[in-house]
Symmetry: C2
Subunit: 303 residues, 2 copies
């Protein structure tokens, strides 16, 4: 089978491409390399890389499925909401049109940030009210609606996952671009013995989900029977605070500085704990890595 992976040279995308190639599939990667890197992908006769923008790329090959991962990261969103719309919203429409043309399924990677700050003691699920706190989250939400509309109007086959906070090796840290994913940034700073800054009091939590579990989720979404644009959360269902991440890394690496606490980020989420129950029920998804296990593997890969 031949699959298209948008954002396939990126962090999650490159793990997904590797897994699809391992399973014997052909893969077309569409990536504009704005955040991805060709070096993330091992050359393969079954792999074609198209350096192109997801908004206007044209694909002539017959394809059997679309994994739509390409996105402008959340951290750029408030500074440039127009570009977020340009890439995230229009890119979704182009990928839906591609699926419609090929009569093939699309798996869209949405974001759990749609639910905004989560104040409940129980993990939240897919029915939690929509309270996006950045244009990025709002745009992920509208993309989910586009998929539902395409399914209802044209019968386009679709499954959607909402990612918790994904971390892992190869995740890009680019402080100039304000692209500072939690675990990867701390790991890099500790390895370089740099001072670490924590936004707010560090008690804000994330549901940290290892990249290999994220890939497991989207692959199960594609190969499941679900075609009616259902949404399922891919998470670890565990809250880990920024301070805990600091502590786990500090102990494993032997970093000896204390963090400096700065102002909280605008629109930042205070807490995150997400139920993956539905993904288990409809796809058989189960996370295989606790945050500590995932972080340990990440440190080993870094060395």
């Amino acid at each position: 089978m031949k699959y298209l992976v948008s954002g396939g040279a990126g962090f999650v995308g490159s793990y997904l491409v590797e897994e699809l190639l391992n399973q014997g599939h052909k893969v077309i990667v569409v990536d504009d390399l704005s955040n991805g890197n060709e070096s993330n992908l091992k050359p393969s006769p079954n792999l074609e890389i198209k350096i192109a923008n997801v908004v206007n790329v044209k694909i002539d090959d017959k394809i059997d499925g679309v994994f739509h991962l390409a996105t402008v990261p959340r951290s750029f969103s408030l500074d440039d909401p127009i570009n977020d719309i340009e890439i995230n919203c229009k890119g979704m429409i182009n990928m839906l049109e591609l699926s419609r043309k090929n009569n093939c399924k699309i798996v869209f990677t949405s974001n759990s940030g749609i639910a905004g700050s989560m104040d409940l003691e129980v993990p939240i699920d897919e029915n939690y009210p929509d309270r996006p706190s950045t244009p990025y989250d709002a745009d992920k939400l509208v993309c989910e609606h586009y998929a539902k509309i395409y399914h209802n109007v044209y019968g386009t086959k679709c499954a959607m996952v909402r990612f918790a906070t994904i971390y892992g090796y190869k995740q890009v840290v680019n402080e100039k671009l304000n692209w500072k994913p939690l675990v990867a940034t701390f790991l890099k700073q500790m390895k370089n013995n740099e001072q670490i800054y924590i936004n707010g009091d560090g008690n804000q939590t994330r549901d940290l989900t290892y990249v290999k579990d994220a890939v497991q989720g989207v692959i199960k979404a594609m190969f499941s029977e679900v075609i009616d644009s259902q949404i399922a959360i891919i998470s670890t269902q565990t809250e880990t605070s920024v301070n805990q991440v600091f502590k786990i890394l500090k102990e494993k690496i032997g970093y000896d500085k204390e963090p400096i606490y700065t102002d909280a980020l605008k629109g930042d989420l205070k807490s995150m704990k997400l139920s993956y129950k539905k993904a288990t029920e409809i796809y058989g998804y189960e996370p295989k890595y606790t945050p500590e296990e995932g972080i340990s593997e990440m440190i080993q890969l870094f060395e």
Copy 2:
């Protein structure tokens, strides 16, 4: 006071501009004339018309409020979702940035189609689940979220209305552009003694709201104390079917043909009945025209 009205040369916009001028305000209209027309606006020393696109227009004047009405109509949406995103989503961000820069309130005219098909016996309210059935409706929804985000992050003052189906004199009928608002299209066709076609069985209903009531609603929204991006429905809270509209017009005009029924439109709403209770409570909005009264005034203006 000086107000900006985006889409001010359009149907609802031109009524709004007239009312603001009557109240002694200065008005800047921003309109690209894609659907509006300068002839809708009477010249006035207090009126400035900028022929420009709402997405990238720059306003140097200090303004006291923004009425954001400019929109690509719903009927183009499935055929060109990319343009819908370009104008409706990016236009909203540009207008929010303008309000933020001027520290002034923005009133956004959203759409009740966000709720999708309404199967309940009671009129639906602002808390009804979001089930947009076209990209247009989804884009109106994401614009509401942008406003809430701007309010939460930057304190931007905002009130939003969701319009029912607005009708009235000056509403554009352009069959080539597939722009066929219900009442205006039938009126024009009957006056020209043309054959009338009805999509589906004609039992689909709309909550028909006269343009002067719509203008009352947005003006009350602007001059109310509401600044926290609350949403209120502006409607008549009355269901009128397409067949009933046909019958009212046929009798008043003396049209003697029967309609021809054709296929239902993709994504068309089956029913619409919307509660304006919240708009009454927070703005004092009350519709002044029943559908029959509004249609009668419209016929008189046409002659």
